[in-house]
Amino acid sequence: MSDAPVIRLEQISKSFGEVRANHNISLDIAEGRILALLGENGAGKSTLMSLLAGQSQPDSGTIYFHGTPADFSSTEKAIEAGIGMVYQHFKLVEAMSVAENICLGRSDKTWLSRKGLQRTVSEIANQYSMQVDPDRLVADLSMGEKQQVEILKLLFRQSNILIFDEPTAVLTPHEANNLFETMRQMKKDNKAIVFISHKLEEVMAIADDIAILKRGEIVGVMEAAHVSSSRELAEMMVGREVLLQVDHQRMEPRQQVLRVAGLKEAGLKDINFEIRQGEIVGLVGVAGNGQKPLVESVVGLRKVDGGVITLLGRDSREFFSSHSWDKALSYIPEDRQGLATCQGLDLLDNFLLTTRQGFQTGPWLPKNEARQKLQYLIEEFDIRPPDARLMAWQLSGGNLQKMVLSREFYRKPRLIVAEQPTQGLDIAAAEDVWNLLLKAREQAGILLITGDLSEALELSDRIGVMYDGRLVNLFSRTNEEMIEAIPQMMAGLI
């Protein structure tokens, strides 16, 4: 590291009630370097960054800015000091143009002219070889383009300390590469960059320094050059050896649980496949290539007109008019906070959302019985905190997902549709989810929709690739040749 760090954190602590989110954290952020902040969900990464961004104040400890104690008591002060955040959920006004978003909150000029805005935006965009049209409405942009707008906002404000909160979570691999290119260029411009992530490969690829957070404390800071493998990082992160490879044993597929024939629905182009009990069929592809309408058609959220879907041997229309709550279909939606659970209900009520028929007697719903059942599931699935009275919003993403899985597996499904089941989860939680899915395979056929290729390769017995509403190919996990070609299929080149 070169000179005095632009930001130095010393003995920073922050608690929320009894939860120690950050404890005695000391960290240097240097100009011209990329610092990766690595940690599981709930390790305290976001809290630490909100302290820097002026959104909350530490209980104790000091933040030094260029060697002198600084006061980041408001977002304005943090912005003034040159700190800029690229949030995971973009802070962009959808109904405004790119240029308006970028100039929002700039403090010098009273009058805004469209021409002037355009010119300034183009200048910066060109400097970092980004291609965005200043006049376009943000609502019309792709995720990657929106992120570029977020970054341009910070560059426009001449932020020198840029903090990226899990920036690649929403990007395609190609867009992620562009982002890394931009980050390298910023590094050359001597900006300090903090990169928050739990994706080990990315951290290895881009970071100069790596700080590992675990349960609110820094457990290690090292130069990326001295790290031998991502496995080493993973061990430090979770404190035990993470089996990134699950034990996948072949199973003999039994009777058919799902058949999709000639499905032409909302941009889908003649989709045909079947799933048998005992196998996982993983569909990969860049989001927006028809996965959504396919899933909606299979789980009954969309009326099927073109094509035939047969579930457990019955036509879908017949199936959904009278299907049993158990031993049938379970759906694990991508949107676990919206579609899978009600945020304002407690875990017991959320549990009963799909299992109530198993408990009801006449018009009554005996909750005690359900509560005991749930308490048992909470222990078995290690849902934390283990309290059925908590509201769904009080659980972290990983624990909420485990809650959804426990509920759905309790129904002993024969067909499971799992959509991005490990998105946003840390390694340990993802591994749990993978093992649970593999175990569920003994009783069920599983349709797995994922954007994560490694997840599909780990879990699937057969892998399909979706592109532009077509199921490009469907092949066995042992077909090495096809697996090699997946990236090209995802990009529509084959």
Binding site: T75, K91, V93, A95, N101, C103, W111, L112
Partner: protein, 306 residues
């Protein structure tokens, strides 16, 4: 219908549309900052009474007009207090403000019922009022009407060409983005509520100082509610508000003339016309699937520390 009837009718449309236009512009300004103020009716009538009383006391309609605007600001500040300080429900607070405003105005206005006050009289603009047709419709009005030719333009410039307007719109669209940009969202919402209340007060004052020069109970007669509906019809754009307001002004003027002409249609049905039209424009606006400028975060509260 010949020209001799049509021109006075259109002139009357502009005149009776003007109080609604003031109020609609006020509500647009408020809603653009993200605050839904259903207290337009109450704010207007408080402005109307204040204008009337001040005009009577000082003899100056100009002082009275400004006072009415300030009274509107005061009334709206109650809504601001509830929504921006205490995080109250915006719908309930606005409804309460309307009930409060109408009650207060009727109570304190009773002694003035039937009295006269100095107000604004038609002031034809030289040269412009000589233009055939248009001159008689638009440029033979009173001063307060002329103001409304300027205000939508100024409001548009403010909203779309200054950084303050950009910030105010951001506060209404996506407060989190505005906060992340270092803007004081609560401050901009106060601006929206208070300035919007000022215009609503002016709209009320138009009724007591120019439309009529006397005070009667329940003077606003639902015009505040029409303004709320017009905001939707206007797609939250100041320019479109002008057309909407004159459309309603036209209907109001028309039904008055029909009543005066001794038509067979029952007067109660004619009186319903503007409100029937309100329902019609709301149906039209919800049927319309094109782009409106409805603020995304309209009606949601923002925590100060957020």
């Amino acid at each position: 219908m010949n020209v001799e009837i049509l021109i006075p009718l259109l002139a009357a449309a502009v005149q009776s549309g003007t109080p609604i236009l003031y109020a609609t512009l006020g509500e647009i300004f408020t809603e653009r900052s993200g605050i839904l103020n259903l207290g337009v009716e109450g704010t207007m009538i408080i402005g109307a009474l204040t204008g009337f009383v001040v005009a009577k006391a000082t003899g100056s309609p100009y002082i009275a007009f400004v006072a009415a605007g300030l009274a509107g600001t005061c009334a709206a500040s109650i809504h601001g207090l509830v929504c921006l300080v205490f995080q109250g429900n915006q719908v309930v607070s606005g409804l309460a403000l309307t009930i409060l405003g109408v009650g207060v105005a009727n109570y304190f206005g009773t002694p003035y019922v039937g009295m006269n006050a100095p107000g604004f009289d038609p002031l034809p603009i030289p040269i412009l009022s000589e233009i055939p047709v248009l001159g008689a419709i638009f440029f033979s009005q009173d001063l307060l009407v002329y103001f409304t030719y300027l205000i939508p333009v100024l409001m548009w410039i403010f909203l779309y060409n200054t950084r303050f307007g950009l910030s105010l719109r951001a506060a209404g669209e996506y407060p989190a983005a505005a906060t992340a940009a270092g803007l004081n969202v609560i401050g901009y919402r106060w601006l929206g509520v208070l300035v919007g209340g000022f215009f609503m007060g002016l709209g009320g004052a138009y009724l007591s100082l120019a439309y009529t020069h006397l005070w009667t109970n329940n003077l606003t007669a639902g015009r505040g509610w029409i303004a709320v509906a017009l905001v939707i019809f206007a797609f939250w754009r100041p320019g479109r508000a002008v057309f909407g307001a004159y459309l309603f002004g036209g209907i109001m003027a028309l039904q008055l003339r029909l009543q005066a002409s001794g038509t067979q249609i029952p007067s109660s049905l004619l009186l319903m016309l503007p409100y029937f039209l309100t329902v019609a424009v709301l149906v039209f606006s919800s049927w319309w699937r094109g782009k409106t400028d409805e603020p995304e975060a309209l009606g949601t509260n923002v925590l100060p520390a957020d």
